[in-house]
């Protein structure tokens, strides 16, 4: 597969995320959101994981009757899609407790089922993942892994074996390694992958069988992808996650290339492999507790170190903070992160209170255009 073919395959998969699997076979389908649900377990159980995502292109009229508009856009969108039957191809949906929004969604769905008994949607399971990096918490998370295992075994009708889990972990680790290599394509000068395409590559993972996904990544890495044209300004995007490439495309259309990202749907989901030696259940629990990135990753100082590390590795010349309206999380981190950037002489653009569904693209284009022009001007002067 050539890099161009691979990219076309990945773009195709990205465009059809959160859809019923088309591969032959009648395995049970397990939907999940974010990267905080151990897909290794789902695969080890012989089930088919499909990542569910929000869709900013669609209004949420049904969900709005039951869910306040202060929820993050992705949560509102996924809620609406669940209760309107868009994910009824799933036999089970797993929600992680890695943000208050996803947790509240779990409870609201339970209530809506009582209020609207005629609405049919899949069973919902709460994966109560906690992420304080302590032994006591680790024991709790291991218990939650065991509970999820039991639920998946109930669904598959067969016990899960250590060997099956080891194989699933090894497979996922291989994927993570390939994703890291693809991400590094952005770091060269010139970059060999746009930010828009990188976001597409990461997002396609939840929509493809692992073998096909790995083959596409290998295809992307097999040749020499054409570099991004010109000498665009190198940027990092940070803050709230992005369920489409719309914002990335807008930024890159203004004369930049996004060489790094620090949010849930970007490269921040790459956190190295799960340990393959020792007890696989403990290793999996430890990984999701301490390394799987979420708004509840703890402590913040480690997240800030990672941010600055990725910034340096990518050679980004500036950072755009994109933060959704109603945010009560990432805005806390901004002042200190801004100070850290200022100390390094790295300019940043702060875009708080952004709409998930209908951002003011004209205003964004103006602000981003000025920011990029200033960076390009500074580059010319240096």
């Amino acid at each position: 597969m050539t890099p161009a073919d691979a990219l076309a395959t990945l773009r195709q998969a990205y465009a059809h995320r959160a859809a019923a699997p088309t591969a032959p076979g009648a395995r049970c389908v397990v939907g999940y959101v974010t990267h905080n649900v151990p897909v290794e377990l789902i695969r080890a159980a012989g089930l088919e994981p499909v990542q569910l995502v929000g869709s900013p292109d669609h209004a949420t009229p049904t969900g709005d009757a039951y869910m306040e508009n202060i929820f993050d856009g992705a949560v509102r969108s996924v809620f609406d899609r669940i209760i309107t039957g868009a994910f009824n191809f799933c036999d089970l949906i797993i929600l992680p407790r890695t943000s208050e929004g996803w947790l509240e969604l779990y409870y609201i769905l339970a209530e809506v089922r009582k209020w609207e008994p005629s609405w049919k949607f899949p069973d919902i399971y709460l994966f109560d993942l906690l992420q304080t990096p302590y032994w006591t918490t680790g024991r709790y998370v291991r218990g939650r892994i065991d509970d999820l295992r039991a639920r998946l075994e109930q669904l598959s009708g067969a016990p899960m074996t250590d060997d099956a889990l080891r194989a699933a972990i090894a497979q996922a680790n291989r994927t993570r390694g390939l994703q890291g290599a693809v991400d590094a394509l952005r770091h060269g000068a010139p970059p060999k992958l746009s930010g828009t395409d990188a976001l597409t590559v990461f997002g396609a993972q939840g929509a493809m069988p692992p073998a096909e996904y790995q083959a596409a990544l290998e295809g992307l890495l097999s040749g020499e992808p054409p570099p991004v044209a010109g000498t665009p300004v190198r940027l990092m995007v940070k803050g709230s996650p992005h369920d489409t490439t719309r914002f990335y495309a807008l930024v890159e259309s203004c004369g930049a290339v996004i060489v790094a990202d620090d949010h849930e749907t970007g490269a921040r989901q790459l956190n190295g492999p799960v340990e393959e030696e020792g007890d696989p259940w403990d290793s999996l629990a430890f990984y999701y507790q301490t390394r799987s990135f979420s708004p509840r990753s703890y402590p913040q100082s480690e997240q800030d170190e990672r941010f600055l590390h990725d910034l340096a590795t990518s050679g980004a010349e500036g950072v755009i903070f994109f933060i959704e309206e109603h945010d009560d999380t990432f805005g806390w981190d901004y002042p200190d992160q801004k100070k850290a950037l200022d100390a390094r002489g790295i300019p940043s653009l702060y875009l708080p209170l952004q709409s998930y569904r209908s951002p003011d693209e004209a205003a964004l284009r103006t602000a981003i255009g000025h920011f990029i022009a200033a960076l390009a001007g500074a580059r010319g002067r240096s």
């Binding site: 009757a65 039951y66 869910m67 306040e68 202060i70 929820f71 407790r97 943000s99 208050e100 947790l103 509240e104 779990y106 409870y107 609201i108 339970a110 209530e111 009582k114 209020w115 709460l126 109560d128 906690l130 992420q131 304080t132 302590y134 006591t136 918490t137 024991r139 709790y140 218990g143 509970d147 708004p295 509840r296 703890y298 402590p299 913040q300 100082s301 933060i323 309206e325 109603h326 945010d327 009560d328 999380t329 805005g331 806390w332 981190d333 901004y334 002042p335 200190d336 801004k338 702060y350 708080p352 209170l353």
Partner: protein
């Protein structure tokens, strides 16, 4: 709802816009509650500010009991927020928050004490600002707490921070208030209580190391029994107020008395104080005293208290004979805090805090309890405050509103900041409530 903002300060801020409190109507217990707060602070000043004793800054929904049993002073963040508000300094610190680059959607109330530290201006801060604590303690329900407390720890130069992680219910059994005092093991789920107990043991060790004080188990057990006793007295008052016609005690007095005892829970003072409160309320009921002679409409106040404008609760008495008879602060100490135990008080303490916010803010738990209160207190309607800039307190309001209305209780949902007086439009809010009473409550 955020941990800190769910808790009432013991002393309310000055009324604004509504009817002034009538001194003659105030219970002696209310005056005593306020006095107790002053005494407590005097002791705090002597021991901590002047004597340099170790103390702990703790969120509202965290196990202060552990620290009380170590004789370590606890400064509850809502209390300090209330002090800031009472000194009219909230706008100043909200401006500081803006200047430091924190955007407008971030929770405000729980941020005030942090802002008083980040501002680094002892001349302005109440009591010269908070000194460096031995430990910071909070429970990580939303995603804000770990950031607020993390930044606070850093601002204090790296003070140890104990973050109680927040496990979640897998099921919300209906009518929690029927089970949570005795059958809490089943209600709160064994695996969660196991984890919470282990966290409490970790906290004891960390707190002992940070303060060089030892956890006095015998004292702890005594305090746990006293808290149950205090809760029983609050239940007696709850029933007195609920059944009495006319209503004997305004909401502001209910808040002050119950919350002062909540902050000092476990002490003999709390039991004695609540007994005095109950006796005074009973006397009023026996005498047929009503604080609103014109009482015609009984309302619930649902959600956070309106701390900068408690006079609003009484703004509809003369015009409409409408009174607020209940808010969650009226009897959460009774219904939510009590945890009876045989031989494991630490597990009972775990059960108290493991789901405290959720009882008040997650449907169906929130709605189950409030509907029950509406029926018990004979309320004809509810005013629900959905706070701006504090979404943890606003989640679930929509479902609760629907549930109340299905139960025949009309609801006025007002969207406003519960803490930022700069954003309060008193005229508009008064009109909304008046229209609600006239158009929906009286007509129904």
């Amino acid at each position: 709802m955020s941990a800190t903002s769910s808790a009432a300060p013991a002393a309310s801020a000055a009324p604004k816009g509504g009817k002034e409190n009538k001194g003659a109507e105030r219970l002696r217990a209310t005056l005593r509650a306020n006095e107790r707060q002053r005494e407590w602070f005097s002791g705090f000043r002597q021991r901590v500010l002047e004597g340099g004793e170790p103390y702990v800054i703790a969120g509202a929904v965290s196990p202060h009991e552990i620290l009380h049993a170590m004789d370590v002073p606890v400064l509850a963040t809502p209390w300090y927020s209330a002090v800031i508000a009472a000194k009219q300094l909230s706008p100043h610190y909200f401006n500081v928050m803006d200047q430091l680059g924190y955007h407008a959607s971030l929770p405000r109330y729980e941020s005030l004490p942090l802002m008083s530290t980040l501002a680094d201006d002892p001349e302005t801060a109440p009591y010269g600002g908070l000194p460096k604590p031995a430990l910071l303690l909070d429970r990580l329900r939303g995603e804000s707490a770990q950031r607020v407390y993390g930044q606070w720890s850093k601002a204090f130069g790296g003070v140890p921070l104990f973050s109680l992680d927040c496990s979640s219910q897998t099921r919300l059994k209906p009518d929690w208030f029927r089970y949570n005092q005795h059958d809490w093991e089943d209600l709160y789920e064994t695996h969660r209580l196991d984890f919470q107990v282990e966290q409490l043991k970790d906290l004891i060790r960390i707190a002992e190391m940070a303060t060089h004080r030892s956890f006095d188990y015998a004292k702890f057990v005594t305090q746990m029994h006293r808290i149950n006793r205090a809760g029983e007295i609050v239940a007696e008052v709850r029933d007195l107020i609920a059944k009495a016609r006319p209503c004997p005690v305004p909401l502001t007095d209910q808040l002050n008395n119950v919350m002062a005892a909540t902050w000092h829970r476990g002490s003999q003072w709390a039991v004695d104080h609540l007994s005095q409160y109950r006796d005074e309320v009973k006397q009023r009921v026996d005498e047929g005293f009503g604080f609103c002679p014109n009482e015609r409409v009984r309302l619930l106040w649902v959600g956070n208290g309106l701390w900068f404008n408690t006079g609003f609760y009484r703004a509809f008495e003369e015009s409409h004979g409408a009174i607020f008879v209940w808010s969650m602060y009226t009897n959460f100490f009774s219904d939510g805090y009590r945890k009876y135990f045989k031989d494991d008080p630490l597990r009972a303490l775990a059960a108290r805090h493991v789901t405290m916010n959720e009882l008040l803010h997650l449907p169906p738990w929130m709605s189950d309890w409030i509907i029950h209160q509406a029926q018990a207190f004979g309320a004809q309607g509810a005013v629900m405050l959905t706070p701006i800039g504090d979404r943890l307190s606003a989640y679930g309001n929509l479902l609760t509103k629907k549930a109340l209305e299905r139960a025949g209780i009309p609801v006025l949902q007002i969207v406003a900041s519960a803490v930022d007086a700069r954003l309060w439009d008193n005229e508009k809010m008064t009109r909304l409530v008046q229209d609600f009473i006239e158009q929906r409550v009286v007509k129904s």
